[in-house]
């Protein structure tokens, strides 16, 4: 049965419980006497349910991604050395070799611990950008480009970072979107566990004239440095953020600094 636009709107209103009591009663009488109309109502109800479920699935998928991202990396602790003889009983060359080994293992353990600290700090602080429209130059972007970005936002929210990277890499660059594109591409690389690739993009994104976008790019750049264990690069940025009361990432930056220093 092919519905007219009015019939379609009437079914929508019925399913959304927006009809007045007399209209509802009259429509229900129509349904009971028209099997084809009844089937259409059933199908439209299914579509509404299915589409509603898709909306829930998107948010659920995002919650799952955030949950997994927040889990600390499960790394084995460095093995402890077993001491089975007194130092004095060893020949001198063994003692010298032992010192080298102990220093080497100690340095390795130190590196591992430092790496784990930055990993923990990163995992605790990194959250997906849930307000992607902030800093997006929606007013000045042509409709076609805007649709591509809106689609990329949807993929990003669904945790399909590979897909976002693919979309944005092939999107022609223009003056209006270059900074935002660099930001979203960098953010997607970071969320996709490719922090090294995200660094040059987030650095460039900071050239934006939009203060909101600049703040976001700066924060995620600091996290990318933390993730790649480049503390000397991360600390000055985190210091800058943590001392700026107006910066929405201030308290997070303070916490990351405490963890890595």
């Amino acid at each position: 049965m092919k519905l007219t636009e009015d019939q379609y709107e009437l079914i929508e209103a019925y399913l959304k419980n927006e009809l007045s009591a007399p209209d509802r009663a009259s429509f229900e009488t129509d349904i009971q006497s028209d099997a084809a109309l009844l089937a259409e109502v059933g199908r439209q109800r299914d579509l509404r349910l299915g589409l509603r479920a898709l909306g829930i699935q998107h948010v659920l998928e995002q919650a799952r991604t955030n949950y997994k991202t927040a889990l600390p990396a499960a790394e084995p602790a460095p093995k402890r050395l077993a001491v089975f003889r007194t130092f004095a009983a060893w020949p001198s060359w063994v003692a010298a070799a032992s010192v080298v080994v102990v220093l080497g293992v100690g340095y390795y353990a130190y590196q591992q611990t430092a790496g784990r600290q930055t990993d923990l700090a990163y995992n605790e602080a990194f959250r997906s950008d849930s307000d992607l429209m902030k800093g997006f130059p929606a007013e000045t972007v042509p409709a076609e480009t805007r649709i591509t970005f809106l689609d990329a936002f949807k993929n990003y929210k669904a945790g399909k970072y590979d897909r976002v990277i693919e979309q944005l890499k092939t999107l022609p660059t223009d003056k209006q979107t270059i900074h935002y594109k660099n930001y979203l591409l960098g953010l997607s690389y970071l969320a996709n566990h490719q922090p090294t690739e995200s660094i040059p993009l987030l650095t460039k994104a900071q050239e934006t004239p939009s203060p909101e976008l600049h703040r976001k790019a700066e924060w995620f750049l600091a996290l990318a440095y933390v993730k790649t264990n480049q503390k000397e690069q991360a600390v000055p940025i985190l210091n800058r953020i943590s001392t700026n009361k107006a910066n929405p990432f201030q308290s997070l930056a303070q916490r990351v600094l405490q963890k890595i220093q």
Partner: protein, 195 residues
């Protein structure tokens, strides 16, 4: 931004309302508070980590759909995380029971006695969801986006009109045409699958 700590809801009703409004942070809160114990439960009941994730996603989807459609109403005496756990648990029990039928095995008594009839009905609904999803993928880009925005992301017709640089009235007509096309694809899909 989703960068603040997870919310702590003052009351169970606040939490319920946040889930009903599909607030992302409420979903995250639910995930973080229920999944670890559910995963442990599945692992101790013949399941793997993948089984746990699968049953958890299905169980939560059913629970959240029931909240949004009003099938599950707020119950002051029941903790929401406990109810969510129960939904997921019953999904896994249903899977275990159907596997037992396939392999003619037995289930432990404490699991056998739990009634999963309601969940089976809810799970049948997921077939409808899957058919709608398949039908949506067959649509042309513009229709898919329009329906997605309106029904999935719940964007208003006015905002969609702005996004597409169209008049609101034209968007309304377009939505009708797209919904009718979707319905036609859905009819084909369900006939094919005999839903």
């Amino acid at each position: 931004m989703a960068t603040r700590p997870l919310p702590v809801y003052k009351t169970e009703l606040d939490f319920y309302e946040a889930l009903r409004r599909r607030e992302e942070r409420a979903y995250q809160f639910l995930y973080a508070h229920v999944f670890p114990s559910f995963q442990h439960w599945v692992l101790t009941n013949n399941g793997s980590e993948m089984d746990a994730e699968d049953a958890f996603q299905k169980g939560l989807l059913n629970f959240l759909l029931n909240i949004e459609t009003g099938k599950y109403q707020f119950q002051p005496e029941a903790r929401i995380t406990t109810v969510a756990f129960e939904y997921c648990k019953r999904v896994w029990l249903t899977e275990l029971k159907s596997a037992r039928l396939r392999h003619r095995g037995t289930l432990p008594d404490h699991l056998e006695l739990i009634d999963t009839a309601d969940v089976e009905k809810d799970l049948e609904r997921l077939d409808i969801v899957s058919a709608v999803q398949q039908s949506l993928h067959q649509m042309k880009d513009i229709c898919r986006k329009l329906l997605d925005w309106f029904y999935v992301e719940e964007v208003s017709l006015r905002e969609i009109a702005e996004r597409l640089n169209m008049k609101e009235e034209s968007v309304k007509s377009k939505r009708y045409q797209c919904a009718e096309k979707l319905k036609a694809f859905y009819r084909q899909t369900t006939n094919h699958q005999r839903l």
